[in-house]
């Protein structure tokens, strides 16, 4: 094994006075002092949130205003901390979205349990739940931090839709009914 000889020569006069080290230290702190500050003045300045940020899970509507969740409950089953609870409900026949058949009567996300893993978003076949850019969650009670359906849609807003899956399905069915071929 190679032996590395460390230089242990005695300190010279200047080193013994500590002054070079002291002056060097003063220079370092001065440099540090004059360096521009990177502090973000939080309540006034907000951080820029990247696109793939996993914030608070929210429910979204499609551009036609239809709520996208069909209460399939996959997110409820996949949710690792069991933060989601869905009460499924039927859509009334008189409703213009009656062909979708189901939507949640209530959709609860317990923000005290949620771990922001994003599995609900990943598993959702309807692209109805998204972890968006909201990162600051607070409330005065436990009850207040269980987000219900109305609040979740309010936070989620409307996102663009690429598929219009249910509209196209309805169109296709109508075509079949009108005698066209499938």
């Amino acid at each position: 094994m190679a032996v590395k000889v460390v230089d242990r020569s005695p300190l010279n006069f200047w080193e013994k006075t500590y002054m070079p080290q002291v002056l060097g230290g003063l220079k370092i702190t001065l440099d540090n002092m004059l360096r521009p500050k990177v502090t973000l003045q939080y309540p006034e300045e907000r951080p820029t949130i990247p696109d793939n940020y996993r914030g608070v899970p929210t429910l979204v509507r499609d551009p036609n205003g239809r709520e996208k969740c069909v209460s399939c409950q996959l997110c409820e089953f996949v949710c690792p901390p069991k933060a989601i609870r869905i009460t499924p409900g039927d859509i009334d026949d008189s409703d213009e979205n009656a062909h979708v058949e189901k939507r949640p009567k209530d959709f609860e996300i317990n923000m005290l349990r949620c771990i922001y893993c994003g599995m609900c978003q990943e598993v959702c076949p309807e692209e109805a739940i998204f972890l968006q850019d909201i990162y600051s969650v607070s409330g005065y009670s436990r009850e207040e931090l269980v987000y219900h359906k109305a609040k979740l849609y309010e936070l989620g807003g409307t996102l663009p839709d690429q598929h219009y899956k249910w509209d196209r399905k309805k169109e296709a069915e109508e075509k079949v009914a009108a005698g066209g071929h499938h």
Partner: protein
Amino acid sequence: MDSLLLDIVIKVIFALLFVAVIMSLAAYSVLGERKVASWIQGRVGPNRTALPGISAIPVLGPQLVKLGIWQPLADGVKFLFKEDPLPGHVNKLYYCLAPCIALVPALTTMVVLPVGQYMDGDVVKPIILANVDIGILFILAFGSLGVYGIVIGGWAANSKYPYFGGIRSSAQMISYELAMGMSILPVLIWANGPNSGLAGLSLFNIVESQQGMWLGVWMPIPAFIFLVSLYAETNRLPFDMPESETELVGGFHTEYGSFKFGLFFVGEYAHMVIGSAVFTILFLGGWNFLPDFGIESLHWLSDPWALMPNWLGGPLSVIYFIGKTLFFVFLFMWVRWTLPRFRYDQVMTLGWKYLVPGALICVVAYAIIIGLWDIAFAIDQTPAIVE
């Protein structure tokens, strides 16, 4: 009789002005300390305290808030309104007396501190409360009294850590007072030399004698020894043995709270401001603008204030002096956030083994140098004392 009364009234107003300036300098150096600390550590520092009304002024108001200008006010009010605890186990009289003893000497020394100059006819006079001819002795004597506040506070608190703090403080004070006193001797030898034409220990004479060259420039080692001793005497890092919060909790002020602690705190900063001012006077030419190298035609360079009318020259000399002082206040803080604390035995070693002998050597060396200088250049101007 009337003129005497007027004299007294003017002196009282002047004294109140002095106290106000020194106290606000002390208060704002607390803010300065916090700001410098945060800048050095890459933070922003206090920038929230806003005064209703003034902070609403556009542009200026928010800028002042950002600088934390109102923070000392808030700190003071906080100290005033906090509960003032009086622990059951303390010696009540001395416990209450100690913070005052810590603050009073700092404020007393400013009596003999010249802060500027004005022209009285053709004669240059200092702006000073009492131009006593033992100025520097007075400052050394009273400055060292400040340690009594710490020692008495540490003892009266009647618990272990404050007691340690007090003991350390007194040992440190004794060690560094010697080096400090001796490092000033070359300055006094120079200031009383024949070419200054003046005599006495008054600080005004010392400033006047530095018009040719600031003493700190050609007496760097005494200046350095004085500065180090000053740090030790004001209990600032790297010598803050009495407080050393990592070992002694808070040292001498462990048992203190609210306004009594505030007094200790302001006392420390007042000491710092006064100490910086004394250093500026002794080694940095006081309010002299720049050294004139003893050349008569360049005299305006060292003393431009004398050429101006009094209403301009006087305040400008004071402002220039305060500027120099504030640089040293900044140096105090800069050093504090750079150097770690010495170990207790290192403090003692440095004081007794290096600074005291060093100061002694300096006294002898500068006595010889100044003696030769006087014989070579200034013997013909020598006043009667030598003859």
